[in-house]
């Protein structure tokens, strides 16, 4: 049936609903292994979930583009960018948090939190991440929005694609790809601002003074955004992304998934005015759910790997149900268990608290708590002591035994600090710090925000050692502030 026939059929039935000839191009039977990609022309949906998606898209894009421009005063000589990954200085700034490279476990914690959050939300409501918040979805949605603005909705886009090349078509194509490229470039452009002072970098970028890596990064991200969001679209989710494969393990029969209530919808048949709904299913086979699907599938075929749970088919179907006077929710968020329950005539229910969801939520709480404690008790002073390995010890002329150490003091404060060093656990001894007069162990200066290494010699008089190996603690104390760090080490001597 072609469009005209369908339109006639609809007239005959007096349906208030537009009949679509949309084919689920990615349905299993429609997609043999070696078939090329068939373009998908998603129709614009209207409704709750489409609105929600617009809002999520706006927030996600706003966060991405605005974040590097937020300022955060940290005092003199320090970057005033709220979020900054400073590779040359090896610091990561996130508002009030400042992370050194050796504290990358905070990032690990953050990634663990992100992973568990994904697990939880997937266990609760399926591929919510894929459908609403994934950058691939957000940018693809944005690109489709541009396409719709330039070329029109589904039917017009199909007509344009089939039309022979003309000045008008060429103009539209150039405009569309031009806007896509601009968006793609802005995407790459925003990315580099996270790695340098944004206003200064923008000035350098415009005046062609920026470092080559900035241009290269923008170029690469322009290419990937344009090709992934504009050209490849749903193929990224279906073929490239591993997450859909993993998600099956997070979902169970009680996860809310976007699904078609076949018990209510079947047998499907075209709309007839004044018909008896008790003899048929609610699905009038108008194919609106297929027409709006950005993945090119038919939700009525059941759960499919391609489905990103964007919920646009819910909006499309609800629209139709309202027009034909049937209850909403023929397509909606529902659990597989509820599908079975309805078939058995039982009441449906959604169980949010399940061992799986409780476990995920608990793990999120535990990891979050650990990170919170780690962050609030984060020390601004650290000491690291390396005992000389060669020689392990040196016998001096008066018979005393000397050990050499490299003491590294990490001062994360933004001010110069003075420290005293104590070798705890040794009998009477003499400490000599290279660069300071022998015997002095106080007022050891470390510049702000720096790691300073000191060569330290410690001598113990002959015969005062009880063993060839003495366990000691090196205690570093800030003389002006209340902070202290210690590190265990050893003192070696001749064998007894």
């Amino acid at each position: 049936m072609n469009l005209v026939e369908l339109a006639k059929a609809a007239e005959v039935g007096g349906s208030p609903v537009e009949q679509s000839d949309a084919a689920a191009v990615n349905r299993k039977e429609n997609r043999p292994l070696y078939k090329g990609r068939e373009p998908i022309y998603p129709k614009l949906a209207h409704g709750t979930f489409r609105r929600l998606k617009w809002i999520v898209m706006a927030i996600a894009l706003a966060i991405y583009y605005v974040t590097p421009w937020i300022r955060w005063d940290r005092g003199a000589n320090l970057p005033d960018q709220a979020v900054l990954i400073d590779f040359p200085a090896r610091r990561f700034y996130f508002f009030f948090i400042e992370i050194w490279p050796q504290e990358v476990y905070y990032l690990t914690g953050l990634l663990i939190l992100a992973a568990f959050s994904l697990f939880l939300i997937t266990a609760l409501a399926g591929r919510v991440w894929c459908g609403y918040a994934c950058p691939q979805t957000v940018w693809t949605d944005l690109f489709i929005m541009v396409e719709r603005m330039v070329e029109g909705d589904r039917a017009e886009r199909i007509r344009l694609a089939k039309a022979p090349m003309s000045a008008g078509k060429l103009g539209k194509l150039v405009l569309k790809h031009g806007i896509w490229l601009l968006i793609a470039m802005a995407t790459g452009g925003a990315w580099v601002f996270y790695f340098a002072d944004a206003p200064a970098l923008l000035r350098d970028l415009v005046t062609l003074q920026a470092v080559p890596v900035a241009y290269i990064t923008i170029g690469i991200l322009t290419f990937t955004t344009y090709s992934l969001g504009g050209l490849m679209r749903e193929q990224v989710c279906t073929y490239m992304c591993p997450w859909p494969r993993i998600q099956a393990a997070m979902q169970d029969d009680e996860s809310l998934i976007v699904s078609y209530k076949d018990d209510r919808g079947e047998p499907r048949m075209p709309f007839r005015k004044g018909q008896d709904w008790s003899k048929r299913g609610d699905c009038i086979d108008c194919r609106q759910c297929v027409a709006v699907c950005p993945m090119g599938i038919d939700i009525r075929d059941g759960q499919q790997l391609e489905c990103i749970a964007c919920a646009l088919c819910i909006d499309a179907c609800d629209d139709v149900m309202v027009k034909i006077g049937r209850p909403k929710g023929l397509i909606g968020y529902d659990t597989l268990l509820n599908h079975d329950r309805r078939k058995r005539g039982e009441a449906t229910r959604v169980r949010w608290l399940r061992p799986r969801t409780v476990l995920y939520a608990g793990l999120i709480a535990v990891v979050g708590l650990i990170m919170l404690i780690a962050l609030t008790t984060r020390s601004t002073l650290d000491v690291n002591v390396q005992h000389d390995r060669n020689p392990l010890f040196v016998k001096l002329a008066d018979g005393s035994i000397r050990n050499g150490y490299t003491v590294k003091i990490l001062n994360k404060e933004h001010a110069t600090a003075h420290f005293s060093i104590v070798f705890d656990g040794l009998p009477a001894h003499e400490v000599s710090i290279v660069g300071y007069e022998p015997g002095r162990t106080t007022g050891i200066e470390v510049a702000p925000d720096r790691l300073a290494a000191f060569r330290v010699f410690v001598a113990v008089p002959a015969d005062s050692l009880k063993s060839d190996l003495t366990d000691i603690n090196v205690v570093v104390r800030d003389e002006d502030n209340d902070r202290e760090a210690r590190s265990s080490s050893i003192f070696r001597g001749p064998e007894k």
Binding site: R389, N390, L396, F457
Partner: protein, 290 residues
């Protein structure tokens, strides 16, 4: 070989005609992306042959149009590194060792250079950690045969000890008291006990007392009245805990009978001035410098 079309009934795809244990290989086309990557690689490799060095010839190889050569890059990089170092080395050449030690930047450069020069030239005898071994002094401790100030260390490194190559080499020679018959066995035994007494070790008091006379007669000229040695002559301090050849009775006896004659090369004949100074700074900073 004529290809007989043979369709697989299940997939409807031609087979290659190859069969193993009843399983036929389908003649599926290569994935398009794979094929295009393959073609791109072919084109790329042809371009690569033209641009980069690639084909071996009999005694040479094709150089490529841009003349890329890792060997020449390395030579250039080494030259650039040397040029970078030159400003520091020039300053080290003109500065005294004390001046180098007073300038934090020069000191850092000299310590790094000294460390690597030590590993290459000195560690064979003195050890990687400069802890020495029997006959090879420990450079970490505070006992110095020929003096432990930076200038004295520099002189020792430059001219060496008891070598025939440098007329300015540190020189002294202990008599072979036993081997050359300068002392008899009893006198040697006595003086050994005296030396053990000097350094506070277990000894035979009566023999040590007898050995004192021998010591005054034979040893004080170099080792001093109190046995504390003489750095002008490289005569070791016999009262401390540091023994280059061992401090027990047997080792001291051997030293008196056969004497010791440690040799160190004159590094001034082999290394440039800047390297020598860096070595002196490094050795002095090992912990025992005076």
């Amino acid at each position: 070989m004529a290809h007989v079309a043979d369709k697989d009934p299940v997939s409807g795809v031609d087979t290659t005609g190859h069969e193993w244990d009843g399983i036929k290989e389908l003649d599926n086309p290569l994935p398009r992306w794979w094929l295009w990557v393959f073609y791109a690689c072919v084109v790329w490799s042809i371009g690569y042959w033209i641009v980069m060095p690639s084909w071996p010839l009999v005694s040479s190889y094709t150089k490529g149009v841009i003349g890329f050569s890792q060997r020449e890059n390395l030579i250039e990089e080494i030259a650039a590194a040397k040029a970078d170092q030159a400003q520091w080395l020039d300053r080290i050449k003109t500065a005294s060792v004390e001046e180098i030690r007073a300038d934090p930047q020069l000191l850092e450069f000299a310590m790094a250079g000294g460390r690597s020069a030590f590993a290459v030239n000195c560690s064979q005898c003195h050890g990687q950690g400069a802890a020495g071994s029997k006959g090879y002094p420990n450079l970490n401790d505070d006992a110095w045969l020929w003096g432990g100030t930076p200038e004295q260390i520099l002189f020792t490194i430059t001219h060496g000890i008891r070598n025939a190559d440098d007329p300015d080499a540190r020189w002294s020679e202990m008599p072979k008291f036993g081997k050359d018959g300068l002392l008899d066995a009893k006198q040697i035994g006595d003086v050994v006990e005296h030396v053990l007494a000097l350094s506070g070790q277990d000894h035979d008091a009566a023999r040590a007392e007898a050995g004192k006379a021998v010591f005054v007669e034979q040893c004080v000229a170099c080792h001093g009245d109190d046995g504390k040695g003489n750095i002008e002559l490289g005569a070791p301090n016999l009262t401390d805990s540091i023994w280059l050849y061992g401090g027990d009775r047997a080792a001291v006896t051997e030293s008196v009978v056969n004497a010791r004659f440690g040799i160190m090369p004159a590094w001034g004949l082999k290394l440039d001035e800047a390297t020598l100074k860096q070595l002196a700074v490094y050795v002095h900073a090992l912990g025992g410098g005076q």
